[in-house]
Amino acid sequence: MKAVLSAELLKQRSTRTLPGVFAAMLGLVLLAVLLHTLGLPARDLSTSSLQLMVLGRGEFLAALFSAILGALSITAEIRHGTIRPTFLVTPRRGRVVAAKVSVSVLIGAGFGLVAGAVAAAAGTAALRARGIEMQIVGGDYVLLVAGAAAAAALWAVIGVGVSALVRHQVPTLIGICAWLLFVEGLVAGDVGGLGSVRRFLPGSAAAAISGQDPGTLLAPAIGLALLALYAAAAALAGSIAISRRDVG
């Protein structure tokens, strides 16, 4: 298992995918946080809940990009055919998926720490520069950063699991983006009377971990447990599916 793990780490280090995805995430985090903190009227940034929502863009984007990176760890191998030599060397495919899950957790946690910290720091600096009083305190910051790390790590696992199920790169990435950017938003908008289930969905569970929207979302610990269940289910389903199906 250690051998497969070091092989997966080398795969991540030896292409430009990881730095590319990381740079895209960081750029979007800064853009989103600064646009909100500098662009919104001061009254829309005055409460703790509103400030948490803006600074929580770090968690959201870290979760999204970690899921994409986790998915790419499988779909890129399928797309370029390297999945064949990978499975020839390690025919117990569950081990390959487990190694990809472990490496994705590591990278996702790193993405979350950086995105969470950058969003908190840049957002706070921008709000202070506008003379807006910070309503969130030390403990909120810890939760923002640590929660982003946990949420991104678990969403990376969801990315691995979903990609092992779907296998094709484009539908996998569209599916992940559509879910996080659109579907959960529809549910939150109470389309079809589903507003009450929104907090149990994986994107909202991720936001809950970093302490956002405490009135509506689950408590951070419950969100963490729920998202961990989603991640475990996705990884297990993906591992079983890819072990049973033929490799094209």
Binding site: A3, V4, S6, A7, L10, K11, S14, T15, R16, T17, A76, E77, H80, G81, T82, I83, R84, P85, T86, F87, L88, V89, T90, P91, R92, R244, D246, V247
Partner: protein, 254 residues
């Protein structure tokens, strides 16, 4: 590339019964919906032989190799390597090396890193990566990204990957594709050297003239079914080429 083949040293013959078949394919069948890609195929390979796996395009050669290598599951029958299903081998990279037709590598990764990742997973020491890179003459291109490689270089990178574990069985799917005449010549000499060590080669091809110069046994299939198999010199009567035999069997003779 000719010199180095003689410098490779000798391979320690595998333990156990040397006469046991290396590959046993029995009643192997693979169905994709309506299409019977492999139909009740039976053959076996013995140590020290180079077997040409021949058939027209779409005959089921690549599907058979994927079934043999555990990448796909048969609908019926079985394909065994060293008496076991590939996916049940303990250390597959040290027993079987394979180059599939698609020469599978990530365009943005260097040739060396491609091999290093496989070597790490198979617990093969990093020195061996440099050895196989030298062997296929990719030493100078090894740190370049694969997207800059020619088709022939990608084929050689695939061969290097297959040889990482110094395997006893080599499975090659259309290996001459993209190789220049010198590369084809080198590959032929290499396969002869490989088989002289008591190791076994299964090589699929539709290039019959080249195959006839390389292989000593053939399995000819069409539409998933075996048409003929055996020693090349027994199948081709004097004055009759492998091409004549092949076209006669596959109905392609005019």
């Amino acid at each position: 590339m000719t010199k180095r083949i003689d410098e490779l040293g000798t391979h320690t013959p595998p333990e156990g019964g040397a006469r046991d078949p290396v590959v046993t394919v029995s009643s192997l069948t693979k169905r994709y919906g309506e299409i019977l890609a492999v139909d009740d195929l039976t053959f076996s390979l013995h140590p020290g032989t180079i077997t040409g796996f021949l058939g027209p395009n779409g005959a089921g050669k690549t599907t058979t190799l994927r079934l043999l290598l555990g990448l796909a599951e048969p609908t019926a029958g079985e394909a065994l390597v060293f008496g076991r299903r590939y996916r049940e081998l303990d250390d597959p990279a040290r027993r079987v090396g394979a180059v599939l037709e698609s020469a599978d590598c990530h365009p943005g990764r260097s040739g060396r890193d491609h091999l290093r990742a496989l070597a790490l997973a198979a617990e093969i020491p990093p020195d061996r990566v440099e050895e196989v890179l030298e062997l296929v003459e990719l030493g100078t291109a090894a740190s370049r990204r694969v997207k800059t490689y020619s088709l022939g270089m990608r084929q050689r990178l695939g061969l290097a990957a297959a040889l990482l574990g110094d395997p006893e069985l080599l499975v090659l799917d259309e290996p001459a594709n993209g190789l220049d005449p010198a590369g084809v010549h080198w590959l032929r000499r290499f396969l002869h050297w490989f088989a002289e060590q008591g190791r076994t080669v299964l090589v699929s091809s539709h290039m019959l003239a080249e195959a006839a110069q390389t292989v000593d046994h053939v399995v000819i299939i069409d539409r998933g079914r075996r048409l003929a198999s055996g020693r090349l010199d027994e199948l081709t009567e004097p004055g009759c080429t492998l091409e004549d035999v092949f076209l006669g069997l596959t109905g392609g003779a005019s």
